[in-house]
Amino acid sequence: MQILRSHFSIALLLVLILGVTLSIQFGVQHFSPNEIWDALLKDTSVSVSESERYVITHLRLPRTVISLLSGAGLALSGLIMQAVFRNSLADPGITGISAGAMAAVSFVVVSGLSIGTYVATLQIAAFAGASASLLLLLFLAGTRGSTDSSRFILAGIAINAAAAAVTGILIFSSEDVQLRSIIFWSMGSCAGLGWNEALTLSGTVLACTAALWMRIKEVDVLQLGNQFAELRGVPVKSLTWVVLTASTLLVGSIVAFTGLIGFIGLVAPHIVGGVLTGSPTSKKLVPTFLCGGVLLVYADLLSRLIAPPSEVPVGTLTACIGGPFFLYLLYRGKQYAR
């Protein structure tokens, strides 16, 4: 355990590299590492045909990038929310922030609204929806998640319900094609996305991660309460806004492409917290990022392999793992309660 603790990030990185390789290899079509190597680096090759090359470079590769970054981003936003709200159950799903983004995405699908390109429209709408949920959460529960846990969770339930109502109305007024699209979105999937989406997401995830990285030492102090942080000279208000905006932006841009993928933001920080017990949030940032990537890359791989040639939506898969985990956390919380 001690060895794992001191080399946790390296271990996660190795598992992630393996996952990425497997994710490119396996799917409806299987490829050997040699074929992948040829497809990626050689102009012409006898081992792979042009269509196979297309599958590898334009389907598998961007998909893997998206699953990695989405998992990492969701995990990171979960870590930050748990620290800022001082509540170990905080996560983009439970707080209703993902649901807000989902409702906005549904609106774009049904209304046909367009601001510039379709990708940009989805991004902006999802961020707006996620921000609306965040503002509502701050208004209803404040940042005192630790002192008023039930209020925090109730606010999350209310926001989820409101967002579901909006999505429901949109589904009701949608046409058949739109309906299928929304349903598919609500189950979460990394399929059908190309380099355009992968690069947009890379930009957002890297920028938000950098912003969080720069303020993470202050988040450590904030974890002990607003007054405590003020005493240490931390600008509490501006810090809270910066890190929560970055987290919301992460969630918004991920939901815009992959739809609802729940529980990564809850599970990854807890796995990391279980190994790096007693560590401050700043020490968990890199491992949580990697752990989120690992979880979603493998979940996405699994979603392709369970029932080929069709795919299980990855959001459904993460819910199957995350739901029981959430129950376990509640059960453990009951034992801890004093």
Binding site: S88, G225, L231, G233, G273, T277, G278, Y336
Partner: protein, 275 residues
Amino acid sequence: MHVRCNSIEYAIGSSTILTGVSAEFSNSGVHMLLGPNGSGKSTLLGIIAGLNSDYSGNVKYSQMDIRSMSAQKTALHRTMCLQNLAAPKGVSGETFFHLVVGATLSQVQEQRAFELFDPMTALAVDGLLKKDCGIMSGGEFQRLYVAAAMSRVLWLQSMTARSEHLFLLDEPISNLDPPHQVRLLHVLKQFTRIAKCTTIAVVHDINLALKWSDKTTLLSKGSIVSAGNTGEVLSPEILSRAFGATFKPAAKDSAYLECDPLCELLNMSLQSIEV
């Protein structure tokens, strides 16, 4: 450091918390802030710390108005132990120390900040560093918090090569058993002398204040009843006036003061119950 409060007025909505509070604190030993519940002790301490700026009047740290100081700058001049800080679950004592001090224990030791005084040993909290704060007892966590805060004072002093510092404690002994209360106050007095900081602590126990504080400020209903040397301020007459209850020596020639159980306040409430 010399700290001066000039005619502080503070109200929340229509209820007045502090009226015309002027006080001075210097680095001549431990200052204690006493008074009945709701007399504004913690509020005054928070205002002195700069946690609250919604008051009229001003607070000066050796001539500098704290309203004109940035949060970062104020944090370098004063350290405060909050009342009832929630022990963070899943955070080790070591990490908590780091968060309070802003440096790790080994960094503090390397800087030779503990050369003259080691608060961790003095308060016997060395053994708590590996323990999760969430499973510490209230008293253990409180001792660790105070020891870490003392370490921060020493750390900042050694980093800035400046001895001036304001050290504030809001009810530091409230969660401790009697031996630990005495030990903490003893350590606090020693620490204040060695670190040469200005120490202000809010406490409730009059007899502990009589024994361990050098200067006392007595508050009642948001204003200062008396301030000065502890022995003079905490006289039975002044205490009786501040608390609206009768204080008297426990026995003839005893320095120990006790409160008459049939004091005015209780009498009044007893009567109203009978009615």
